[in-house]
């Protein structure tokens, strides 16, 4: 079955022809050029494909594209419309990634966490990011960067 799918991608209305069995990840990457979301496993296990759908982090690799009809989808490209976010700045400062392939997914998950809980304690933060796999870093710099964001948010600085 074919559909003309309409949704909001990174703040802009988009329209794209899709089949029912197309995956959101593939449609974003191959048809709409939003390539920040990555293919890592295809079965919701690694988090590399994480995007925000109506502000919630979702695994785009196991989402049918047709499911986002009328919704708002944000990828890393759209997150930084006004320049790098506070989380991104902290990740840069702390050399949070090595190969960087997991970075978009981590940033999307971290963004959702901070929007719900601006200053999580370290264990809350780890729990929230546990679905994002990174093979390179051992996670330490990601933790350090996130702790800095949480600490900073406690001070009420936005």
């Amino acid at each position: 079955m074919n559909h003309i799918l309409k949704f909001n991608l990174n703040g802009e209305a988009v329209e794209v022809a899709v089949k029912s069995n197309e995956k959101l990840l593939d449609v974003l990457r191959d048809k709409l050029g939003a390539v920040s979301a990555k293919f890592g496993c295809g079965v919701a296990e690694c988090g590399a494909c994480t995007v925000l759908i109506d502000d919630l982090s979702v695994r785009s690799c196991i989402t049918f594209a047709v499911e986002v009809e009328g919704k708002s989808v944000v990828t890393l490209e759209g997150l930084q419309a006004d320049g790098p976010t506070k989380i991104q700045k902290a990740f840069i400062k702390h050399n949070a990634f090595q190969c960087g392939f997991c970075a978009p997914g981590f940033i999307m998950s971290a963004t959702e966490l901070i929007s719900k809980n601006p200053s999580p304690n370290e264990e809350e933060m780890r729990h929230a990011l546990a679905g994002n796999l990174c093979r390179c870093t051992g996670y330490q710099n990601i933790v350090d960067a996130m702790n800095e964001v949480a600490e900073d948010n406690k001070g009420g600085v936005k």
Partner: protein, 292 residues
């Protein structure tokens, strides 16, 4: 994965009539975290997918008439964020918090978990100890089924071809303690190799349920009867744990040997009993404390 017909009804009736029309060729879709993967791997090949997320009446989570009502479209994240669940069904809350990862929990549902009916399902044990009741609706009308009667085997339930689960209810209880303990290979995301829920109330009624160690979740009634009316001691907990093992029939697989599953169930039931009583009496251990 082959192309399919995607329909998104806005009422339960429409959903049922579609399902009736296509029967086994159609599958309901909630979060899709089980369905999508089964389709992608070619395990199932539905010609029609009926997305239930357009049905507004399936999204409810409330306490009324002595029970907590949870609609089919309620996600694990919504359960975790609900004060009702946290306070009134803490074992379910603990289980919810251990399902997969945030990115999965944001779309995956409790009802999808039940309908998928794999032995390792997280929701089984905590709902068993609370004698939850699920709501099924089909062309012949509505029926209520105790969750304990819902599963008939691995990936098998009493759901008829044209039936869908619209939600469930969990009776409200007062002055109790309960826990859910998950055995995974590590603290990161894992499918349960065993799950244990224990419930106790102030009259020393105990309920014990284990999942992932038999084809369906089970209640350890022998252990429950043994403890009934008794004030828990460490020795009683150990004895009850031994009895609880009679209710299970675990297998060996790549995740764990049968022997280790049994070993762990013994420990989990014992620690679960002690923790439930302690939680009832003093409020500790706090929710999400890792007991193993």
């Amino acid at each position: 994965m082959d192309n399919f017909r995607y329909i998104k009804p806005s009422t339960v009736d429409e959903a049922i009539s579609s399902k009736r029309e296509y029967g086994k060729k159609a599958n309901f879709l909630l979060g899709g975290t089980d369905l999508f993967i089964a389709m992608d791997k070619g395990v199932i090949t539905p010609e029609v997918v009926i997305d239930l997320k357009g049905i507004k009446t399936l999204k409810y989570l409330e306490e009324k008439d002595g029970a907590i009502f949870i609609g089919a479209a309620v996600t694990w994240t919504e359960l975790i964020e609900s004060e009702i669940i946290k306070k009134m069904v803490p074992a379910l809350w603990e289980a919810a918090d251990l399902v997969a990862s945030v990115g999965v929990r944001n779309t995956a549902t409790l009802v999808g978990n039940l309908c998928n009916a794999v032995p390792s399902l997280e929701s089984g044990a905590p709902l068993y100890v609370r004698d939850a009741v699920v709501f099924l609706e089909g062309k012949d009308g509505k029926r209520e089924v105790s969750v304990k009667d819902f599963f008939t085997g691995v990936k098998r339930t009493v759901l008829k071809d044209d039936e869908l689960m619209t939600g469930l209810k969990i009776p409200v209880v007062k002055e109790f303690g309960e826990v859910y303990i998950k055995m995974g290979r590590y603290e990161g995301e894992d499918l349960a190799q065993a799950g244990v829920s224990v419930f106790v109330d102030k009259n020393n009624n105990y309920k014990i349920s284990l999942s992932a160690v038999a084809v369906t979740p089970v209640r350890a009634t022998k252990a429950e009867d043994f403890l009934k009316g008794k004030k828990l001691t460490d020795e009683l907990a150990a004895e009850a744990a031994e009895l609880a093992l009679e209710a299970i029939a675990p297998i060996s697989d790549i995740r764990s040997s049968k022997e280790y599953r049994i070993h762990m169930c013994r420990i989990m039931v014992k620690r679960g009993l002690i923790a439930s009583v302690s939680r009832m009496e003093t409020g500790v251990p706090a929710l999400s404390t890792r007991l193993i």
